[in-house]
């Protein structure tokens, strides 16, 4: 394939869209479509998370907070106020996530390294406890069931295509962002914050920006998930949810834009296949990730590209680990 790079990319992009668009037509059961929908939503969540970690170097262990805000905005408004509120609820969820991520972000970006990670974890756990205890509003650990989106959206196949469209547009936006001058500044922040200051850019301001943006897309993912599963539960805010996107990112490769998305595909399929055979799937996932972390830190996508460039005898494309 000696096509110019941008055409090659367009080709892959279209192929990916086609595969997901064909799922409802080729599926043998509704279950498979649901699985594909889960992959799309988690893929968006993981890609948005990796804008923080892989690109900017801020390992947040609390993105579940925003995922939960999106899910609970849709869940609460649709069941309490009315199904027609689905889209307004989406907007309200995004606005709430923006506001809270701005306030939390102002506090957490003052920290670096492990402290940043732990403070984000603490905020998310705080939100989880509030969700769990505030039974009158959130239904406590029962969660909320019967979230039926209005009109055509109630049809699962139609809803799937809406999810597909939203996820692809979101990821396209994020990708443009990652390779824009703003994305470049973010990469600089990870590699050398000192020099970012030298060239007259503010480290804090850009960190805050990407924190809010990443949280917005996490909230969008949560809102989409609420409509797809028709039920939500406080575990969506638990730290294991934040852990899940970290696992996906590493599995796919944190230094590649599409790594987390591929990671989401692999992890969800693995969980599905192994979960059907044994209740002890965490031990299998844990072992797989352990091996990847130790032996293949570039992740699935990074290792594949590395192998491909070795195969072509091209050493210039070798990627940093």
């Amino acid at each position: 394939m000696d096509l110019p790079r941008r055409y090659k990319f367009g080709l892959l992009w279209t192929a990916g869209l086609l595969v997901f668009a064909l799922v409802p037509l080729l599926m043998t059961s509704r279950y498979q479509m649901n699985l594909a929908g889960h992959i799309l939503v988690w893929g968006l969540f993981a890609v948005s998370f990796n804008m923080l970690w892989g690109v900017t170097g801020m390992l947040s262990f609390g993105q579940a907070l925003y995922y939960g805000i999106g899910a609970y905005s849709v869940g609460l408004l649709v069941t309490r106020v009315g199904a027609a509120w689905f889209f307004p609820a989406l907007g309200i969820g995004l606005a709430t996530a923006a506001l809270i991520s701005l306030l939390v972000g102002l506090l957490v970006i003052r920290m670096t390294g492990v402290y940043f990670t732990m403070l984000t974890l603490a905020f998310a756990q705080l939100a989880y406890q509030v969700t769990l205890k505030w039974r009158d509003l959130t239904g406590g650990d029962d969660g909320i069931q019967g979230i039926i989106p209005p009109g055509l959206l109630a049809d699962k196949t139609f809803y799937y295509y809406v999810v597909l469209a939203v996820v692809f547009v979101s990821i396209w936006v994020l990708k443009r962002m990652a390779y824009s001058p703003f994305g470049l500044v973010l990469r600089c922040i990870q590699q050398n914050p000192e020099r970012v200051r030298f060239i007259g850019r503010s480290v804090r301001m850009n960190q805050l920006r990407i924190y809010v943006i990443s949280s917005l897309f996490a909230a969008a993912a949560g809102a989409l998930m609420a409509g797809m599963d028709s039920s939500i539960h406080p575990d969506m805010l638990y730290w294991t949810t934040s852990g899940e996107v970290i696992l996906m990112s590493v599995l796919g490769g944190i230094n590649r834009f599409f790594g987390p998305f591929i990671g989401a595909i692999v992890l969800i399929l693995l969980e599905d296949v192994i979960g059907a055979k044994t209740e002890f799937w965490p031990i299998v996932i844990g072992s797989v990730i352990l091996v990847i972390v130790i032996l293949f830190p570039r992740g699935v996508v990074g290792e594949a590209q590395h192998l491909w460039s070795r195969f072509r005898g091209d050493s210039s494309q070798r990627s940093p680990a």
């Binding site: 732990m118 603490a122 002890f280 130790i294």
Partner: protein
């Protein structure tokens, strides 16, 4: 609000604080010496509790030896984990993130292993003979086992302080926190030091788990609950600050004990509120000397 009630809450807060401190001291030891953030520390606490259950309730070993053996066994598992896995990612870019991730994998693996071996139902260990009753001071009844825990905690604090500040082994451990390369040049086997310290830290965690088992029942999820509380303690005291962790534990233990007494429904929120407030106003910990904050 009468005095007896307050005093009872105080003591219960102290024994909780001691358990938290014992567990957190392992966490802070390995962070202080090796700059390793062991997210799976709670899993070693859980392993210790299950080892203690197996030794004392199933195999009938007397209580106190069982606790020591359980701690040692957890320490051996800890050293093995460091030697086999953690050691391979030292010095890599993004190391902090990968440490958290790798130890997260260990949590998943240990949780499931425990479920496979012991099942997921609650287990408990009986209190040791001689510590079943309560001591009466005025109107206040204090369970003797709680007092025993506090005593053991004080003993461990003193022993750890003595080892770290007065012995050659402690000096090596502290030196490896400052400069590993120079220490290696002086002829010290640094990788071995880290493995040993990791083993000691996880042994502390395991012993705490076994010690706590008669008060809190043993479940596969126990590791997660304790790790978050221990993290809060460590953050309160300042990462890698041994004495700070002790004060942090007492603060958190008392806050928890009184929150449970006054607002039982919302008690679980208070730990996080304390942590968030601390990280916002004193990110280096409450008891760390004031330093210029890193940008």
């Amino acid at each position: 609000m009468d005095f007896a009630f307050l005093a009872t809450q105080m003591v219960s807060g102290f024994s909780l604080a001691t358990l938290l401190f014992l567990n957190a001291s392992g966490l802070t030891l390995i962070f202080g010496v090796g700059r390793i953030f062991n997210f799976a520390h709670g899993s070693f606490y859980m392993l210790g509790a299950y080892f203690g259950y197996q030794l004392s309730a199933v195999w009938g070993l007397p209580f106190w030896p069982a606790i020591l053996v359980a701690g040692a066994a957890a320490g051996i598992v800890g050293s093995a984990s460091e030697y086999l896995f953690l050691r391979r990612i030292y010095g890599r870019p993004h190391e902090g993130g990968f440490q958290i991730l790798l130890t997260y994998c260990l949590i998943l693996i240990f949780d499931d292993l425990v479920k496979m071996i012991w099942g997921s139902e609650y287990k408990s260990i009986a209190k040791p003979p001689g510590f079943l009753g309560a001591v009466q001071i005025g109107d206040v009844f204090i369970p003797t086992y709680n007092l025993a825990i506090i005593a053991v905690g004080l003993l461990v604090v003193l022993a750890a302080w003595w080892i770290l500040s007065r012995t050659r082994a402690g000096r090596i451990a502290r030196a490896s926190a400052v400069d590993r390369e120079i220490l290696g040049c002086l002829g010290v086997n640094v990788p071995l030091t880290l493995t040993v310290v990791f083993g000691l830290a996880t042994a502390l965690g395991g012993m705490t788990g076994a010690l706590a088992a008669p008060l809190r029942s043993v479940t596969p999820g126990a590791g997660i609950e304790i790790i978050i509380d221990s993290l809060i303690v460590v953050v309160l005291g300042g990462m890698g600050n041994f004495w700070g962790a002790w004060f942090g534990a007492i603060l958190l233990g008392e806050v928890n004990a009184f929150a449970v007494a006054f607002v039982p429904e919302w008690s679980s929120l208070f730990s996080y509120i304390v942590m968030v407030l601390t990280l916002i106003f004193r990110p280096e910990g409450l008891f760390a000397p004031a330093r210029i904050r890193k940008a």
